[in-house]
Symmetry: C2
Subunit: 223 residues, 2 copies
Amino acid sequence: MGQLCLPVGMSQQDLVKMDTIVQERVRVHKGETLYRMGEPLSAVYAIRFGTLKTHVTMEDGRTQITGFHLPGEVIGLDGLGEMQHASDATALEDAEVCVVRFDDLQSLSNHLPSLQGQFLRLMSKEISQDQVMLITLGSMRAEERLAAFLVNMSERLSARGYSSTEFVLRMSREEIGSYLGLKLETVSRLFSRFAEAGLIQIRQRHVKIIDMAGIKQVYSRSC
Amino acid sequence: MGQLCLPVGMSQQDLVKMDTIVQERVRVHKGETLYRMGEPLSAVYAIRFGTLKTHVTMEDGRTQITGFHLPGEVIGLDGLGEMQHASDATALEDAEVCVVRFDDLQSLSNHLPSLQGQFLRLMSKEISQDQVMLITLGSMRAEERLAAFLVNMSERLSARGYSSTEFVLRMSREEIGSYLGLKLETVSRLFSRFAEAGLIQIRQRHVKIIDMAGIKQVYSRSC
DNA sequence: CGAGCCTTTGAGTTTCCTCAACCTGAGTGG
DNA sequence: CCACTCAGGTTGAGGAAACTCAAAGGCTCG
């Protein structure tokens, strides 16, 4: 569990203790939601396998995807402050998560000093990632955003032992668009343009990266 | 100090204890930086008075403002994970901050159980705010972004005892633009348009909100 | 009071969106 | 087994939004 569910940085004994409280696992089928915005926060979740998206919906119905989450990542942290979930989490494919119950956590954290730090670190990382997205949405053009997205997916998949050059996107063009602040047609056109330029091969959701350096250039050689 | 430097939620005795460790204050003059990205994190900072901006710069020189920070807010939390600052913090006007040293904090947090929770809550709030910005940048049009910005400033100022309808923007059009993912000319034009529509009065950086409901409509009646 | 920065406003251009048609592949029922 | 359906994806044409470039006016600060 330890390796899959919480990132490195804890001692072996601590991991053993952790294992004793995190025995609960939940399966989430494609399209089902793990939690919804506004629900009381009873736990955070470490993804064992599968991909989930987190998204928020405004009063007027518009929706924005705030993240795609791969195995090994922890979701639900954004609700810790108000003790209620700040977004929806939906499975993009059948997935399984470890349930880290919050009341267990609180009683345990006294005995596990490293756990507090672990959570601070996770939350801080989430803040940093959000800030990277702010740059992406605030100062990049469509082309650059999509290139950044591809590189980001590649790196995260690679860090989890998958191929960094060939993978399957678990989300639709529309979902990518929502995440990147673009329309689905724009995403589709850009994929086609990247393919034409010899940077990638793409057939449906199967992506093969041909020229990684070229893709990185797309968002570094601007201005 | 307590009221000014850390939000509510701590008991009176805890506040007294806090006061004993947070005696250090720093003045930051307009244009000076409090900390820079990459510097080792030795403290977080609670703003006593003045306004600061946090911003990040990419390799290619592009810069994005990630937040404007008013008195009472805590900055520097985004660096807690890596123990080094994840952004620059620059004063928009002469300001003073309380220095919350991290080593003091760690030794103290054992004796102050509420402090840990306090920090989790602050960080979680920061994540939520970033996610609101993601929606803003990802799915709103220029007009809506600026309206949301005005309402946000108004509410935060009001919560701090200032007027909610009349205030001075401490940042330039360019800085507002960077924050909202717009160019300075666009920001300027939109202010003029809002004024023409009778929603606000604006002269340089002095804003007077005439029709708050109208401004809120700008970003609720879309689609 | 002058220099430099900030702001406003205009004209033209680019980027991305909208609308629309058509294609593809997976799943379904006859 | 094949035709059908339907969601997702591609591609094109036209238009709207925001950007770029440019010029001129206004504040602020030394």
